[in-house]
Symmetry: C2
Subunit: 248 residues, 2 copies
């Protein structure tokens, strides 16, 4: 966490509060990882145990989201932090929102996966969904590590993996469409398969969001929407305003 | 905005800064509404003009997201605001993230809608997608009004509408599945239809998120995850901690 500028804090208690918040975010991330893992294992091993755990984890994830948001406001009020820490707190709020939505998507994956492995569904399509699941799970693990260690290089690698996830997602849409054309009776199940793929692809997007936030925190560099950002910079310089906090 | 406790601020300049931020959020919301409107009109009128506008609006939406986040941090640093205003700023950050994702979903709707109306697709399915689009557009208008006026009653009405959107969404999944079974040649187009329905349903979810944030800001009452919240309250009272900022 020292790379996230925590070393600048004089108050040890403040450091501890930020550290506690960080570990709550990581705990939340760990629960999402567990949820996603259950869905992916279900697709791979064709066994749907663990659904109850998924629902329990969802509740704990929601509870953590509320609790971390309250902590953010509490810390801001007590400590009147500097710009870099305020940014950390604002981004923590966004990160937990991303994690919460990943939790929702993972719950959806696990429930649909249980239906898919129960019905008549060709194994190779399950395998391909499981493979996409493994990619996004790897991305999730990577983005949590990047968050924990403030590791910009890792964050960039995870962001690059999102392209692989997108390619796999698109290929599966085409294959599932062909499967449906070949075997119309499979259509309702194959629609479940489409939505599993879609939810997994969304998990990848949320990982990318979190990585962008990690880079912003460590480097003070906002890498969201690079194109819009350039336009904004152009406009700012045209208007002659200073944008005094943009970099620091 | 006075219902959002702005009346408590002594500094007129601070009020103005918050007011500016609020109008930027509303401008962003207006752009998303415009994007969504183009997609819905395309479904209803079978004409795909306005796609260029959608892409342009997306860039402006992204630019506004970055700019509002920077404003939040800037205001926090300059003003060292009280808890209620910090909550407002934290929630503004979440609201713009929701708006940005609604913008993405709306762009997707417009692009897929243009494909749907070009191909052979039975008009009644287009009409039903358009009807779902109108529901979510109404929700978006409602949640922006609720945000602008701090109107809790309106926010609750919009949240209730989300159930109607969900029912319409689920009904359309079933109907599109039947359509595909009846006419396998339509499968690739019908998958586009599924994803239009899914994106519209997601827009409804984001509206609900924003309404929850409005209620939180006005009432200091966090209505996200009511079940998890009760559990959290139980745990807090068991642990005997005070949760001093939870209500104020």
């Amino acid at each position: 966490m020292d790379r996230l500028r925590l070393s600048q804090h004089i108050s040890r208690q403040f450091n501890e509060e930020l550290e506690t918040m960080r570990s709550l975010v990581l705990r939340m991330g760990g629960l999402v990882e567990q949820q996603l893992g259950i869905g992916v294992r279900c697709l791979r091993e064709r066994e749907s145990a663990g659904l109850k755990q998924v629902v329990e984890a969802e509740r704990e994830i929601n509870r953590l989201e509320l609790s971390i948001d309250e902590d953010c406001v509490r810390i801001m009020v007590r400590r009147q932090p500097a710009a870099s820490d305020l940014r950390l707190l604002l981004m923590a709020g966004k990160t937990v929102a991303d994690l919460e939505r990943m939790g929702d998507e993972s719950t959806r994956v696990a429930k649909l996966a249980a239906r898919l492995v129960a019905g008549p569904f060709e194994p190779r399509y399950l395998d391909e969904l499981a493979a996409l699941g493994e990619i996004t799970r790897e991305m999730l693990r990577g983005c949590l590590d990047a968050f924990a260690r403030g590791d910009v290089a890792l964050a960039r690698r995870v962001m690059a993996e999102d392209k692989i996830a997108d390619r796999s997602y698109k290929a599966q849409l085409v294959e599932l469409a062909e499967y449906m054309e070949r075997l119309p009776a499979i259509i309702p199940r194959a629609i479940d398969g489409l939505f599993v793929a879609r939810s997994l692809e969304r998990v990848g997007d949320h990982c990318k969001n979190i990585c962008e936030q990690v880079i912003y925190l460590v480097r003070g560099e906002d890498v969201r929407h690079p194109k819009s950002r350039r336009e904004q910079a152009d406009q700012t310089s045209e208007q002659g305003t200073s944008g005094d906090l943009a970099a620091g």
